[in-house]
């Protein structure tokens, strides 16, 4: 996953629900130095009885904000969505030199 165009990651999930899986796996796919390189990662845990859907918001350097539906998307689809925009940013960065 291309992570160096991501500036903010905000997740909110109930770990006891099956829908939290992809949000949790997304957190694990961020590199160890993510916070040191200026990415802000905010995780909010919902109580066990909560039935609220888990959310994942990813903000990029160009200001675009992705609001991903973790309940229905698997981790592969989420990574694909994030990479789709990251690749465009990468291309732009390569052109600019």
């Amino acid at each position: 996953m291309i992570t160096h165009f991501i500036t903010n990651v905000t997740t909110r999930f109930n770990p006891f629900s099956a829908g939290a899986k992809s949000a949790r796996l997304f957190l694990t796919s961020l590199p160890p130095s993510a916070r040191a390189n200026g990415m802000s990662i905010v995780t909010e845990l919902l109580p066990r009885t909560s039935t609220a859907a888990s959310t994942l918001r990813v903000k990029f350097k160009d200001g675009k904000e992705l609001n991903l539906d973790c309940e229905n998307l698997g981790i592969k689809s989420i990574v694909e969505e994030v990479d789709r925009h990251s690749r465009a940013l990468q291309k732009q960065a390569d052109i600019d030199g």
């Binding site: 770990p15 006891f16 899986k21 949790r24 957190l27 590199p31 160890p32 990662i41 845990l45 109580p47």
Partner: protein, 354 residues
């Protein structure tokens, strides 16, 4: 020249057969050369070898299952045994998700945890120092999941003994009830094949959604809310109840390596005395003051006060009944004496009061 006995180093099935044949042939040669002079009857070692059949050497290894190169303590079978014994012995376990901690960060986190655990005062009449047995370890999630199932659904005491053939050929009852046994596998299979609603009501069913991705567990050998609170304030500080240690007293805690490691640890749940708790539940257990002793004292105090209330209530009913009866009796006595006597009595009372 005596016959040469080849030294066999290869360990395969073929070599195993040769090993049993070649020495016997040479032995036969030896026996035949000596038996011409002796009076003992001819005795062919080859015949003996055929009669006893082929026996594989003790260190025989099938060529299709070569010995594993993996170290013993991380083999799946051994891991499963380790995890089941851990789950059976630990009453208090916190489950963390770890997001790409580096080795130095792990070292820093464990160091801070050790320091915090050592500073917690031990309680009880005969305090036992168990802080060295509090460990934060990364687990193999899938095998841990299987171990949880084995611990929950498999009861070794219910396994029937099976008949097994011994070396001497007789049959003897043997009980195979270890965690890697077929009985354990079947018990787990039976329990997990049912409907998901029934499974969700079990302790395993509640804990299973947590076991996704990289997981680390913090295990305590006993339920000690004081130690739990100290561990929470290090690993998952939440200021009002579990504040992080002060910067002045523990500067190491605020090192960038330790802090970045702690930011990547996420407390997602706990298993306390076989029950599953979420973050709030774990905080509640950590918030019990003075440990189990404190909880018992609270209970005793509550029961005592309840008893006191009960006796006074019961007493009160009897007392009021006695008072009513007594006043009624005095009234009736006065009525018997007649109105004059009653008047006199009233005057007497007034005098007394005056």
């Amino acid at each position: 020249m005596p016959p040469r006995i080849r030294c066999l180093t290869a360990r395969g099935l073929g070599s195993a057969v040769n090993a049993s044949r070649i020495p016997s042939r040479s032995a036969a040669l030896l026996v035949s050369s000596t038996s011409t002079t002796s009076s003992t009857p001819r005795h062919y070692a080859t015949a003996v070898a055929i009669k006893s059949g082929l026996t594989l050497p003790a260190d025989y290894v099938p060529p299709t299952r070569p010995p594993t190169a993996r170290p013993a303590d991380v083999r799946k079978a051994q891991l499963l045994r380790t995890y089941t014994s851990l789950l059976r012995s630990t009453p208090l376990m916190l489950i963390f998700q770890h997001n790409n901690l580096t080795a130095t960060e792990w070292a820093a986190v464990r160091r801070e945890l050790r320091v915090a655990m050592a500073s917690v005062p031990l309680q009880g009449a005969e305090p036992i120092d168990f802080t060295s047995n509090i460990s934060l370890q990364v687990i193999r999630t899938r095998i841990f999941d299987v171990a949880l199932k084995v611990v929950e659904f498999f009861d070794p005491s219910k396994v029937r003994p099976t008949m097994a053939r011994t070396i001497s050929g007789s049959r003897a009852p043997v009980t195979y009830n270890h965690d890697l046994s077929k009985a354990a596998y079947e018990a787990v299979k039976e329990a997990t094949k049912g409907d998901s609603a029934q499974l969700a009501s079990t302790s395993y069913g509640q804990l299973a959604p947590l076991l996704v991705g990289p997981i680390a567990i913090l295990t305590f050998p006993i339920v000690s809310p004081a130690h739990l609170a100290a561990a929470m304030s290090i690993l998952a500080p939440s200021p009002p109840a579990f504040p992080p240690p002060s910067r002045k007293r523990t500067p190491n805690y605020y090192e960038p390596v330790a802090q970045s490691g702690l930011q990547k640890l996420l407390l997602i749940g706990g298993r306390i005395e076989g029950k599953v708790f979420d973050l709030d539940g774990v905080k509640w257990v950590g918030g019990i003051e003075h440990g189990l002793e404190g909880l018992r004292a609270q209970l005793v105090r509550m029961l005592q006060s309840a008893g006191l209330g009960l006796t006074s209530t019961l007493e009160g009913a009897g007392k009021s009944l006695w008072l009513t009866m007594e006043s009624r009796r005095s009234m009736m006595e006065e009525a018997e004496k007649g109105p004059e006597a009653a008047l006199e009595a009233a005057v007497k009372v007034e005098k007394k009061e005056g």
